[in-house]
């Protein structure tokens, strides 16, 4: 059937888009598992096993991908630290607006933490490991909040800078 509509050709999602979808699902299962931890054991198990499955998928993909981005493990490279540190040492604080090595580092810490949390949850289904699982899960919230802070810091700072320069009259310089 011919029509006047413009047809967009469907395409396969890019690996990075798939990673974002995976990230969204992991956040979803973590959030639901956290919310259902106190009073809904069945739902908590469902969300927890989903998180465990998603982590297994991530680690398997990282194993297959090797060092190829974006599915490689987010290891902050030494060159990234050197470059970032050098910029800060020379007073180029604009380096904070870009991708800092803290972002992949916090991602890596989160992955490791969530693997421990989900495995301890799995173990708690068989043995008396509830206390360990609860402690790790409570601690993981702090790690998650730090990760959110790190990845949101640069875009928020950028936005703030843009809005400031947008409202300030030309010719005025700000104290750096």
């Amino acid at each position: 059937m011919r029509g006047s509509m413009t047809m967009t050709k469907p395409r396969w999602p890019k690996p990075f888009e798939l990673l974002l979808v995976w990230h969204g699902l992991l956040v979803g299962s973590y959030t639901i598992a956290y919310l259902t931890a106190e009073g809904a054991h069945g739902l908590h198990q469902f969300a927890g096993y989903s998180a465990l499955g998603l982590l297994a998928v991530r680690l398997t993909a990282a194993l297959i991908a090797g060092e190829r981005p974006p599915w490689a493990l987010p290891l902050p490279k030494a060159s990234m630290w050197k470059n970032f540190g050098g910029k800060l040492a020379h007073g180029h604080f604009s380096a904070l607006l870009g991708r800092t090595p803290f972002a992949p580092l916090s991602g890596l810490v989160i992955l490791a933490t969530l693997v421990l949390v989900t495995l301890s949850g799995l173990a708690a289904d068989w043995w008396e490991w509830e206390d360990l699982h609860e402690s790790l899960a409570e601690g993981s919230l702090a790690v998650v909040l730090i990760h959110i802070g790190i990845v949101s810091f640069a875009p928020l700072l950028k936005k703030l800078g843009e809005s400031r320069t947008g409202t300030e009259p030309d010719g005025l310089t700000r104290n750096a």
Partner: protein
Amino acid sequence: MFRKTLTLVLLGVLFMGTATLTYGTFFDKGFGASVAGIMGMGEGDDDDEGEHDDD
């Protein structure tokens, strides 16, 4: 990119919330209890496994 990530995070929460609610409705304690559970107001699972020690 930040906005795209945030959108997918919210969609992920929505998807997992729906999936968990579906599971809870059909295989756990029903719709009402599942909604309460997801909202963090669950009543616990003391009688969950049919372990009635008093019987």
